[in-house]
Amino acid sequence: MEENQKYFPVPQPDELTRKEKDDAMGGYLMMFAALGAGLPLPIINLIASIIYYHMNKSNSLFVKFHTYQALVSQIPLTLANGVCVFWGIRIAIFHTWHVNNFFIGFALMLLVANILYLVFGIISAVKASRGRMYYYWFFGPMAYEKVFLVANHVVKAPAVNHPPKSIS
């Protein structure tokens, strides 16, 4: 049980190469680059992030942490944006649904969420490029646990060698 609670040490800025810092920053910049392309269908930025995360899977823990945080933090927002687009299309094309306060409130809430996300994305890109850790609410600790928890890295092969049965 003790083993499960152990975490790898968090890297300090002088232990990181320039490339690692840039790769970590890339995780956040990826989502801005894909945000424009993904606007009509807000799924493209998510796909880009998933690809980027898998490209950097074997990179250092610092890079993994930042790319993972960038990836998971945009899942709920992407889903919510998708709901908003779907909702808007229903209103604009099929006329069976109508613009109501729930929709306006939802769209404005998403506007706030997207702006906040953009701001935090820029902050974390700058932090990552300086070799700093930066934890989002909820997503930060989650990404830390996923990447730095020792137990998540040790793949225990099932035991095939046993002591002689007559001894045990």
Partner: protein, 283 residues
Amino acid sequence: MKKRYWIDAAKLIVVFGIIWAAFAIIPWPSIHAPKGADLVSIEREKKLGTILMEQSILSPDAKEKVIHSPKLDSAIFIVTSRLLEHLDHPLFTYHFYVVEKKDVNAFTLPGGNIIIYSGLLDFCQTPEDLAAVLAHEIGHAQKRHVVTKLVNELGLSIMLSVLSGGNSSIIREVMRTAMSTSFSRDMEAEADAFSFSLMEKSNLDPTTLSDFFRRMKKEKDNDSNLSEFLSTHPSNTDRIRAALEYKTAAGFTIKPISLDWSVVKEELKKVAPTKVEEPASEE
């Protein structure tokens, strides 16, 4: 202990839920207060209606004449008084005018003035058909759709210039806009909903409007007089379905309007002989 960050997730959801609710509570003006209804008071709409009626259909040199027939008038009175008796908080004193024109259509002009074309009376097969359509038109008036549409289409200054006398070309333009441009889909849906509930309150079958629309859809290909109504009242399947899905309250009973509709049909042949023959096949 290590799952403490799930509490942060809950906080995030709560915070954004509150933001959503806060934005949703704000009474967004474009939805809840249509511009025209805000800018033109009931009193002004009444005056506008009087001026428009006097200078168009009721004027001596009007192209489209109001039919004065005691038999038609009493039929219209029987149908409309059933509806008006059950109308809560009427905004206007409603007036109904039958105009000789073979198009199947009815219009609501400002101030509760409702124009019924003789073609519509001819297309209706029962007094309830007429009641359903007129309940829809009363809905446009009660919901202030008429002034809202006119202000949106023509601007407030044109409306005010009519109120201060106006000239005949402006009045023609206002009449043309009132009669030929359509309401928004939301307004139509609102007027339909109004019709269903007014019909129910008047002990008439709310689904009558759907039967009426279905018959229109079926006959639109062999009756050119329907095209105008359908262009200003898109009778899509959504509207038909909305009528069929309307749920009446428990204990609702239908009391037919006691009016011999064949009298209306006979009278129409006399006073509005320009009507085209009805399609031969009837289901």
